[in-house]
């Protein structure tokens, strides 16, 4: 009988792993952010496509973000925090990240995160992060060096000014400009899933405050800008919305 234990165990494991009905005890969540323009979700071609913006046209060249403080919202709307996870996005190329395989499978009512960092991390020693870590300044190019802290969102592009193509640049930083994002939508996370969010770049200029580079200023480094960066941060926090939730492809 003893001789049969090992083979039987192996065979039973094989069957268990192949059971199409079995559900994992823990899951991860891949998150993809795709840039779009407007409620019609028009795809954005970076550094080429002009979009109307009031009396201007704008195009986009850089959308970089530091993201942290992830959470799932349970079915009562309470936060289930996913701690100590950070992501760096540089659209359109670096547009996804995966939250770790330690999430409890289940049904949730939303997904939340912060564009930005808490004060401790923001003002901590940036040289401690590993070579490929999202918060390594050599990876994200969003650290302000000795002036302290990270730029949370770097938004850049061009607009037409007096018939000439002119740069616009908004670097949103400082703790008062952290952007809390909540996307409320039913999420069946009973398996390994990919959540796709749309980032509406029109909403970045319009969601709460209607702004344009030509009329409201074409640059901000978050200081001495008549509150422009803060208005843009309020817009950006309302610019993410649900697009799809699908099973991860093996």
């Amino acid at each position: 009988m003893k001789k049969l234990i090992l083979p039987l165990l192996a065979v039973s494991l094989l069957f268990a792993s192949c059971d199409p009905e079995s559900k994992p005890e823990i899951v991860n969540l891949e998150v993809v952010v795709q840039p779009v323009f407007g409620s019609a979700n028009t795809p954005v071609a970076y550094n080429s496509q002009q979009f109307p913006m009031g009396t201007d046209t704008v195009k986009f060249t850089r959308n970089d973000f530091i993201i942290s403080e992830f959470a799932l919202l349970d079915e009562q709307g309470a936060r289930v925090d996913i701690r100590n996870e950070y992501a760096f996005l540089s659209l359109p190329d670096r547009n996804s990240f995966t939250l770790p395989t330690s999430l409890t499978p289940g049904h949730y009512s939303g997904f939340a995160f912060t564009v930005g960092l808490d004060s401790t991390i923001n003002h901590g020693d940036p040289s401690l992060w590993g070579g490929t870590h999202p918060l390594n300044p050599a990876v994200n190019n969003l650290h302000w060096g000795w002036t302290g802290g990270y730029i949370f969102a770097a938004m850049e592009g061009y607009y037409q000014k007096d018939g000439a193509e002119t740069p616009w640049l908004y670097h949103i930083a400082l703790m008062e400009n952290r952007m809390e994002v909540v996307v409320e939508t039913p999420l069946d996370l009973t398996d390994f899933k990919t959540l796709t969010l749309n980032l509406d770049l029109e909403a970045f200029f319009k969601a709460v405050h209607s702004l344009s580079p030509n009329e409201d200023g074409d640059f901000s480094h978050s200081t001495f800008d008549n509150g422009l960066a803060h208005k843009l941060s309020e817009n950006l926090s309302q610019s993410f919305r649900f697009a799809s939730l699908e099973n991860q492809t093996p």
Binding site: K3, N141, A164, H221, T223
Partner: protein, 365 residues
């Protein structure tokens, strides 16, 4: 035979197959080299498929300084990357190749390459191992066939020993040459020992002029701000004094060298060049990809008043340099005192280690 016994035999057979190649063969042993990252620097993402070893670095250093890599054995990599000039070409605007051909870009300094993601002014090479082979066959540089270099190296007992020490056997291949030179160049560091680094460490003070220069360097150019700024930190910020990107800084309104655009074929990349580190900048004159500025004063004056607002693909980070300030003129509008302070600050970034560290020197001398 029972099922369990069969499984046991199967495992043993697999074990024997997996170990067969190494039986009776002396293992190749190398000495790991730990890169001493200067305090305050971000951690580098070193290539996992080319771990630093003492033997690999030494081989790479020998190759770097050996003129055998060139057509007529007259030039090595070190000929145009001289430690006494911060690994640049002896103050020349353009380097001169083995047959007297003049290049069209200024020799780049070699330090802190462990943090770079692309190489050459136009970023055409994605890795140091590839970059290191390019000048060998470049017709305006060493003008040699890499495979001919392989033949020459194979004939030399010194390299038979060095390749064996680094890679386990004496086979010379272009790939191994690139890996070894990559290892050597990854070890070249500038940081931790400049006056600025000592100031950050709290062991030395900056002068009032240098302090003003640092404040200007890290200040934004903003007409609404009560304090002036030179906006340098956007592209040259952080411990490495570069963002490692390829950008157009507005040198020209009409482009004669397309830079990255010539590599990608994209009009939107025209005029973009690598943002160089400002560490050791005092060593590396002349400046810009074409060496057009002989002094740091000229460089600062360009950024103060000479950025072309209509330069194609002018980077949005340059917006502060083409603003109109209250004085009416476009640009930073820095005073002479402020411009001199900026230069004084830049001179605090000099780290003489690049010139004196024996690990970087020509091993044949």
């Amino acid at each position: 035979m029972t099922l369990s016994r069969g499984l046991t035999f199967g495992f043993l057979a697999l074990f024997a197959v997996s170990c067969g190649d190494t039986w009776g063969k002396k293992p190749h042993v190398t000495t790991p080299y730990v890169l001493q990252v200067p305090t305050g620097f971000p951690q580098p993402a070193l290539p996992e498929d080319n771990p630093l070893t003492v033997e690999g670095i030494l081989l790479g250093r020998q190759l770097f300084y050996d003129p055998i890599l060139s057509l007529d054995s007259s030039q090595s990599c070190g000929s145009c990357h001289n430690t006494a000039f911060g690994f640049t070409d002896n103050g020349l605007t353009y380097s001169v190749g083995v047959d007297g051909s003049e290049g069209d870009r200024n020799s780049m300094p070699l330090h802190n390459l462990a943090w770079h993601q692309s190489f050459f002014w136009d970023g055409r090479s994605p890795s140091l191992r590839e970059q290191s082979l390019d000048p060998i066959s470049n017709p305006i540089e060493m003008k040699e066939d890499v495979l001919h270099v392989v033949e020459k190296l194979q004939r030399q007992p010194r390299y038979q020993d060095a390749f064996t020490a680094a890679f386990g056997d004496e086979e010379v291949t272009p790939e191994r040459m690139g890996l070894a030179m990559e290892q050597f160049m990854l070890t070249i560091l500038s940081g931790g020992e400049s006056k600025f680094d000592r100031f950050i460490a709290g062991t030395e003070s900056l002068t009032a002029e240098e302090t003003l220069g640092m404040q200007l360097f890290n200040g934004e150019s903003n007409p609404n701000s009560p304090t002036p700024g030179a906006d340098c930190f956007h592209c040259h910020g952080g411990a490495l004094f570069t963002n490692h990107k390829l950008m157009n800084n507005g040198l020209d309104s009409v482009l004669t060298d397309l830079g990255l655009g010539a590599v990608t074929g994209l009009a939107t990349d025209n005029g973009k060049f690598k943002v160089p580190s400002l560490r050791n900048i005092a060593y590396t004159a002349p400046y810009m990809h074409d060496g057009r500025f002989q002094t740091l004063e000229e460089v600062v004056e360009f950024y103060n008043s000479g950025v072309h607002p209509n330069s194609p693909n002018l980077d949005p980070s340059m917006v502060g340099f083409v603003q109109t300030h209250s004085g009416g003129a476009m640009g930073l509008n820095l005073t002479l005192t402020q411009r001199q302070a900026l230069v004084a600050f830049l001179n605090t970034l000099t780290d003489t280690r690049v010139e004196t560290d024996t690990l970087y020197q020509n091993p044949f001398k």
